[in-house]
């Protein structure tokens, strides 16, 4: 255990399994009863299966209940899944819809208190306290990241700078002038900040920054090593999604080995993404979450499409909340190339193996004469650049071979100039799929 003061809310991180299970079952029964009464979609689906709330007598009974999907939120847009009247709803957020309408989520006053509490516990687990000055570079607005983290940090007693995302020059000025000790952002935006800070000449040595809390997109341990090494900070992974509550569903602790799920508020299952069957602890599958205390939009067995597994061993930090492994990928950001399932994280891992540090890259898919082509564009950094053509060709070849080794497909690696791949201010755009537009199929 570290000596950092523990916020009172964090005591729920250390319940005995018996205490936790009692709380979980009580809350599960309440949320199912509530949904059955107030949400027609849930009631109809339960009735179809001959189920009613009295069938929930143990935590494992949750597996009898039907799943909910993102499409359920879309189909009932905007308020169809709300279990409370709008007079009880104090906040709305919406996630950017890639297709048509966004999805809308609402919070009652109690939901806001739960959200604030789980974010406070998240930040406490990252070792932050009331002495910290926090630069919150998650986007403020309809996105849950900015405000969710904001409320948690304020409740913890830290000083919060609500700078939101973007405007890199101002971010650096604030970090230097305000004595910032911790930053929240997406990992890809922080990589961009690292480059910009190093270009200032003074770099990180004059900064007080010691902790980064990163989330909202999948990243890797190798990326963490890169961030910690270059910026000289501790980088923590957090996990959450708007449909469940926003950030604050799970977090890493000082041990940085897996994310503790706030199980007193979110019941987790791992299921086979194809069959929906619950998998035993330790097996990799899709994370399914049930909100145990949400009032405005209770989500029952929500399919996250995030792929992970439950870590069964207890954590050395002392928290009794079970952990999940870092989300390696989503079951739906999988790209199918020539019939082969490929995840961007696999290509990233291959590039890291060759270079030992993460170059900026982008995967471009196209189709030539009916065949999928993969091009991986890699920005040449000073460390990679050699004065000899043969050395650069060798590097291209090595990267291409490493990718082929991991995904089993030949990729054309193209070396491109620095800063020619678009930098994201939010989520990293790793894949450009041109296969549908103007293909010569």
């Amino acid at each position: 255990m570290n000596t950092v003061p523990i916020h009172p809310d964090s005591y729920a991180d250390f319940l005995t399994p018996d205490e936790l299970h009692r709380i979980q079952l009580f809350r599960l029964q309440t949320v199912v009863q509530n949904s059955y009464e107030k949400v027609p979609l849930t009631r109809d689906r339960m009735k179809e299966r001959g189920l009613n709330p009295d069938h929930i007598n143990s935590l494992t009974d949750v597996a009898h209940l039907p799943f909910m999907q993102k499409t359920d939120l879309r189909d009932t847009y905007p308020y169809g899944l709300f279990a409370r009247p709008m007079s009880d709803v104090v906040r709305l957020h919406a996630s950017s819809g890639t297709t048509g309408k966004p999805i809308v989520v609402g919070y009652t006053r109690d939901d806001m208190a739960v959200w604030t509490s789980v974010m406070t516990r998240t930040l406490c687990a990252a070792g932050l306290n009331q002495m910290d000055v926090i630069q919150n570079a998650f986007g403020y607005g309809l996105f849950t990241g900015g405000l969710g983290a904001h409320y948690g940090a304020e409740a913890l007693g830290s000083t919060v700078i609500p700078i939101s995302g973007g405007n890199t020059e101002r971010q650096i000025m604030v970090m230097q002038d305000f004595g910032v000790t911790a930053i929240f952002s997406t990992p890809s935006y922080f990589l961009h900040l690292i480059e910009a800070i190093e270009a200032t000449g003074t770099g990180f040595k004059d900064l007080k920054l010691k902790v980064g809390v990163f989330g909202a997109e999948p990243w890797t341990d190798a990326m963490r090593a890169h961030i910690q090494d270059r910026a000289g900070i501790k980088a923590y992974d957090i996990y959450g999604l708007s449909e469940i509550i926003g950030p604050g569903v799970a977090t890493e602790c000082c041990r940085q080995s897996g994310l503790h799920v706030f199980e007193d508020h979110f019941l987790m299952e791992i299921v086979d993404p194809e069959t929906g069957q619950v998998l035993p602890d330790g097996e990799e599958g899709e994370l399914v979450l049930t909100t145990l205390s949400k009032q405005a939009i209770p989500m029952i067995r929500y399919r996250t499409h995030d792929i992970t597994s439950i870590i069964t061993e207890p954590c050395a930090c002392g928290r009794t909340l079970r952990r999940i492994n870092r989300i390696s990928h989503r079951s739906d950001d999988m790209i199918i190339i020539r019939g082969v399932n490929v995840f961007p994280s696999q290509i990233e891992a291959a590039l890291l193996k060759v270079e030992q540090s993460l170059p900026h890259y982008q995967i471009v898919l196209s189709r030539r004469e009916g065949l999928d082509q993969i091009e991986v564009q890699v920005e040449v950094t000073e460390a990679m650049f050699r004065d000899r053509v043969s050395a650069l060709e060798q590097l291209q070849k090595k990267m291409s071979q490493a990718i082929e080794h991991v995904v089993g497909l030949r990729a054309n690696v193209r070396l491109v100039e620095l800063q020619t791949i678009a930098r994201s201010q939010g989520k990293a755009k790793r894949v450009i799929d041109k296969r549908r537009e103007g293909s010569t199929l």
Partner: protein, 144 residues
């Protein structure tokens, strides 16, 4: 006795060569000699300038990736067999020439070649011993 050469990574597409050249021009830096190596996808621009530190700084500020390497500026007799006489010195010493390109001006009756080898110090010694002149930075820049 070596000169500093700057190499700049370029993508092989229209307009890319203009970027470093414009950057150097804007900083009032004259390119004394240059050489361009290219493949289908990318190229390497190699330049020799008077103030390589300043050139490197302005290029990097403009977003270029720059590599500094040591090259030899060798005075070569400007007559048939002149080039051969250099190779005759380097090859027996197992010094590998990675690439070379000519400097645009002559020094008396001699031509000047810029040569990158794998072992520059050893090469310089061998050439010196055989009476071939190597130009250092100050001698080189008085030519230009």
């Amino acid at each position: 006795m070596t000169l500093k050469q700057l190499s700049v990574f370029l993508e092989n597409k229209p307009g890319r060569l203009g970027h470093p050249c414009k950057t150097l021009a804007a900083a009032n830096i004259n390119i004394l000699t240059l050489c361009l190596a290219d493949t289908e996808q990318f190229g390497i621009l190699r330049v020799i300038v008077r103030n390589w530190e300043k050139a490197k700084a302005v290029l990097e500020k403009a977003g270029c990736v720059v590599n500094v390497s040591e090259v030899l500026a060798i005075e070569i007799p400007d007559h048939p067999g002149g080039m051969e006489s250099i190779l005759a010195i380097l090859e027996p010493n197992s010094i590998n020439i990675e690439y070379m390109y000519a400097f645009t001006l002559k020094r008396g009756s001699n031509a000047v070649m810029i040569v990158r080898v794998d072992k520059p110090d050893q090469a310089a010694k061998a050439l010196h011993k055989n009476g071939l002149a190597l130009l250092d930075a100050s001698a080189f820049f008085t030519l230009a």
